[in-house]
Amino acid sequence: MLQNFSYLAPETLKELYALLKKSNGKATLLAGGTDLLVNMHNHWISPECLIDIKKIPDLKGIAFSPKTGLSIGAATVCIELINNSEVKKHYPLLAEAAHHIGSPQLRNRATIAGNLCTASPCADMGCSLLALGASVELGSAEGTRVIALKDFFTGPKKTQIKKSEVLLRILVPAEMAGAKFGMRKLKRIKGHDIAVASVAIARTSKVMRIGVGSAAPTPVVTGDLNPSLTLEKAVAAASQIISPIDDVRAGAEYRRFMVKEFVEQLYGELF
């Protein structure tokens, strides 16, 4: 049972921009809905208007070119990423990260962009895309801009997206194609659960980054690290960027321990 709202489903970006402008912040974008509809079901939010972006062709699809890298359209759902042959070939473990999200039903519906826009500290795509040095392209009637994902998250459930903007696509740099990549996620059960702590490492011959989830107000990432960094220094780098808290899911101390443990495990796996 949901409270009253209106539903709009524009078919072009132009229409979408116009609607966003008109609604002046009162509209909420609907993609997979796996987060939004839960929040509405629980009466945590009650938007006046939902704008469904799934009918806009420009927001669909995954594209790869060796020059520009990977582009993931905002309406792309997890299962598309998981099954995409280019992703499997060049960013195989990005597919693995998407596989960590929810249950099959959720992966069939939840979008990668939605996982980022929700800006939960535990977003599974957050730490992995951060490690890959991804950026996001935002668009509005005024034009588009690209910002690094590490600058995109500004706080729990907060991002840089302005009222009139929409996330158009996620961009993963070409130089990270073929990177060694691994992810670990601490859960309370073996079935679907949100991350209690998560770590993703991506490493090429030139650079290494460690992304961490559920251990700070947003998913966080180290700076560009030397790929031949020792384990101790890598652990120190990851430990520096986190500020875990005690909550119902775990204690801060255990989160800190598991982040260190995951870095060690991934080091063992990737090096």
């Binding site: 049972m1 409270q3 009253n4 309370r188 059960i189 079935g191 679907h192 119902v248 321990f257 443990e261």
Partner: protein, 805 residues
């Protein structure tokens, strides 16, 4: 009853018969309460308290009442009715005082759920937030705030329970067996420890739902997802002082219960709203979030055990103190306390025993029945204690259990003598030990350890439980013979998933010598149509209703024989029957078919005799007594079902991560009636037990507010969480007064799984665990010798006294 017929002579009992309700469930055609639409139906919603304890200073519903589409708004001020199963302590909606987070404060009925929600949002309440009482261990603190200052004025079942007015003790169960002081003096060692459990939610997949209709002339119709339609009727009648015959309770298909739907819950609110709305039916369907706090949960427990033991491993004395965290209302918790009190030592003989079990009111969501009825909780402590004592003595934990196990000639805590046919816990222990290769690691397991770097541990744990029920618990089965020689049954045991109806159909078929397909037991129950049954709880259904079924089938046959005797001019002793007819033994061609006699037998000339045929079987528990209030002695047990689990786990010594590799479970079920159902109960309960053991439990803040009322933060096991291997074993020591020798096994599979897991983890890596659930983090903390995890506001304490004389 019919316990000594060899299995080979049985045609339907003991066979793997498919469930009689499976086709409609597989096709989506089974109708649950939420699937019914009623003309004029309104949607009810409940406003819940955000505070654990508060005084309602002001409540203003005028705006809600004025909202278009709203037909009824009620607050506690409108309803001066108390309801309670054993202790009448709960208002239908809170009046003046809030006693727990999530308590119902007001209710509305409107034309749509959305309007009802809007109406709730328009209710204005001013609370004065008060300091809650949250720690049951503080029950003897004279300054502790009282949850029920009026406890002394409440009515209760005086023969059984002992509330202590002026305190937060809703019931104090005492048990004194032998001479405990003398026992401790004789002991070579004394070990005392304390174990804790949080509140846990049942999580039936179907949330609570009821549709109430209160017509003019105080005629009430309730459709509800309740386990016990007659209990709903009885408690409703008592609260509102309405004749029982005016109240009709219908239970459609039920989507699970596990005890959480045993009592009366949403029904009074729906009906009161309906009355205000002029008799329009009002439906309230609890949200999943409401399941956690508006509706009841399982009580928490702090269990202190002091064990006196001889060097040779024989337990000679045990003092057990239980602080049951019952929450704001007594509901079933007082009886959980009683039933746990008389079982508190597990399936072990304790010569000198002393139990004090307190049901403590706290400002938390209230506890009710939950599969195992207290045994899952105390068994956690008891089975951990058994391992602890065995280790301290340097005796193998399995040998220690077998040495102290109840066996023929032993006396239970209440002084009941165990006989051969009571069942055999030692056989259960041996069976599971064998199944898991207890006491050693196989080459494959050693190789696995090497490969994974994890440590493998093994354990066994034993369990027992008897139905917790009044000594006068009874039931009826009525079998109506149909024109075509099929039979339709009528009774009020409910089947919320267990498969008992299929077992009953097999029992009836066996006696009648008819195929199961010719026995229909409608899954829906209706108090206007069906005869009385006390409740569907306690694992008593198969035994009591099974016996009633045998008696009903025999009565039906007896009536058929009477007709045949007249029609065939034969004596009844010369008759026999098969699937189709009653015939003369010596001249089988001389017979009368069931079709011929179903609605009255007619001779060729038209003369008719006897009328339609109905068989009736009534059965009531035999020889049970109330327990002596001072020493707890007496005979409370309809039957004891014993069992054991063997568990293999692998644990990461560094992180505390663990995988359950195998669980083997054995139960002495007396006689297997339906293989698939026994296995279903065994595996389903085991996983529910693992859920309790691994991840489930309420977490509160220090204000008593529940922090995890959802599946997001109260995880339950999924298909990925089951053990890699599962083994189920049935031991069959017949229960002489059980139907074909059977006894119940509905709850038992959930008991002692927690202890088995804790013990196996400890065996693997040495993590000493005293609080459940056991999360990965808890193992890590235990491994790091940190203070046991504080989960609830309740503080877990470990005291180890090792007094060598």
């Amino acid at each position: 009853m019919l316990h000594n017929i060899p299995a080979k002579d049985l045609k339907y009992v003991g066979k793997d018969v498919e469930r009689i309700d499976v086709v409609e469930k597989l096709t989506g055609q089974a109708l649950y309460t939420a699937d019914y639409e009623f003309a004029g139906m309104l949607h009810g919603k409940v406003l819940r308290s955000p505070h654990a304890k508060a005084r309602i200073k002001k409540i203003d519903v005028s705006k809600a009442r004025r909202l278009t589409g709203v037909h009824a708004v009620l607050t506690g001020n409108d309803l001066d009715y108390r309801v309670g199963l054993y202790l009448v302590d709960k208002y239908i909606l809170a009046r003046d005082t809030i006693r727990h987070f999530g308590e119902a404060v007001a209710a509305v009925a409107a034309e749509t759920p959305a309007i009802a929600q809007q109406a709730l949002d328009l209710i204005e309440i001013e609370y004065e937030v008060l300091t809650p009482f949250l720690d049951p261990k503080q029950v003897f603190d004279k300054k502790a705030p009282l949850v029920h200052p009026d406890l002394g004025k409440y009515s209760y079942v005086e023969a059984v329970f002992t509330p202590v007015p002026g305190t937060n003790i809703a019931n104090h169960t005492k048990l004194r067996k032998g001479d405990v002081d003398k026992g401790f003096k004789e002991a070579d060692f004394v070990f005392e420890r304390e174990y804790t459990n949080p509140n846990v939610q049942h999580v039936p997949m179907e949330t609570h739902i009821a549709v109430g209709k209160w017509d003019a002339g105080d005629r009430i119709t309730i459709h509800t997802s309740a386990q016990s339609p007659f209990t709903v009727r009885n408690l409703f009648a008592l609260s509102f002082k309405i004749p029982h015959c005016n109240i009709r309770v219908i239970t459609p298909y039920l989507g699970g219960g596990f005890g959480g739907k045993a009592g009366i819950h949403l029904e009074p609110i729906c009906c009161c709203l309906s009355k205000v709305a002029g008799g329009r039916p009002v439906r309230i369907q609890a949200t999943r979030e409401e399941e956690f706090s508006l509706l009841p949960c399982r009580s928490g427990l702090i269990y202190n055990i002091k064990t006196g033991v001889k060097k040779n491993g024989k337990i000679v004395a045990q003092k057990m103190t239980m602080y049951w965290d019952a929450g704001a209302y007594a509901d079933y918790a007082v009886n959980v306390t009683r039933a746990s009190g008389f079982s508190a030592s597990g399936p072990y003989e304790i010569e000198n025993a002393w139990v004090d079990a307190y049901t403590v009111y706290t400002n938390k969501p209230f506890g009710t029945a939950y599969r195992g009825f207290g045994h899952v909780e105390f068994s956690w402590g008891m089975e951990r204690q058994m391992n602890y004592v065995a280790q301290q003595l340097g005796i193998d934990p399995l040998q220690f259990r077998k040495l102290n196990a109840l066996k023929a000639g032993s006396k239970t805590l209440t002084g009941e003598e165990v006989v051969e046919n009571t069942g055999n816990v030692t056989k259960c222990l041996d069976a599971v030990a064998k199944s898991i290769n207890y006491g050693k690691l196989t080459p494959a397991e050693l190789a696995r350890q090497k490969k994974t770097g994890m440590k493998i541990g093994k354990s066994v744990a034993a369990l027992q439980k008897a139905p917790a029920m009044p000594p006068f618990t009874g039931t009826v089965m009525i079998l109506k013979l149909n024109e075509d020689g099929t039979v339709t049954g009528s009774h009020s045991l409910t089947d919320y998933g267990m498969g008992t109806y299929t077992s009953l159909a097999q029992i009836i078929a066996e006696v009648l010598r008819w195929p199961v397909e010719r026995v229909r037991l409608p899954i829906e129950n209706d108090t206007d149509r069906d005869p009385y049954d006390w409740q569907t709880v306690a694992s008593k259904g198969l035994l009591l209703s099974g016996n009633a079924s045998i008696l009903a089938a025999q009565d039906l046959l007896d009536k058929c024989y009477e007709v045949a005797a007249q029609a065939l001019r034969a004596q009844k002793c010369d008759l026999d029957h098969d699937a189709d007819k009653v015939f003369v033994k010596h001249h089988p061609k001389s017979f009368v078919t069931y079709q011929q006699m179903a609605v009255g037998y007619a001779f060729p000339n038209g003369n008719a005799i006897c009328g339609p045929i109905v068989g009736i079987g009534r059965y009531i528990a035999q020889g049970l007594t109330n327990l002596n209030k001072e020493n707890g002695q007496g005979n409370p047990a309809l039957d004891w079902t014993f069992g054991a689990h063997g568990l293999i786990v692998e644990v990461n010594e560094k992180t505390g991560a663990y995988n359950v590799i195998k669980v083997a479970s054995a139960y002495d079920v007396g006689r297997v009636i339906n293989e698939g159902s026994v296995r279903g109960q065994a595996i389903g309960g085991m996983l529910q037990g693992l859920g309790t053991a691994m991840c489930e439990g309420y977490i509160y803040n220090d204000k008593g507010q529940l922090l995890n009322p959802s599946f997001t933060d109260n995880k339950i096991p999924t298909s990925l969480d089951i053990p890699e291997e599962i083994d189920c074993i049935a031991i069959e020591t017949p229960q002489i007064d059980g139907p074909f020798g059977a006894r119940g096994v509905g709850e038992h599979s959930m008991i002692a799984v927690c202890g088995a897991l804790g013990n196996a983890i400890e065996q693997a890596v040495g993590a000493d665990l005293i609080h459940m659930p056991i999360r990965q983090e808890d193992v890590w903390k235990a491994l790091n010798r940190r203070v046991p995890v504080k989960k609830a506001a309740v503080k877990a304490k470990s005291t180890v006294k090792q007094a060598k004389k």
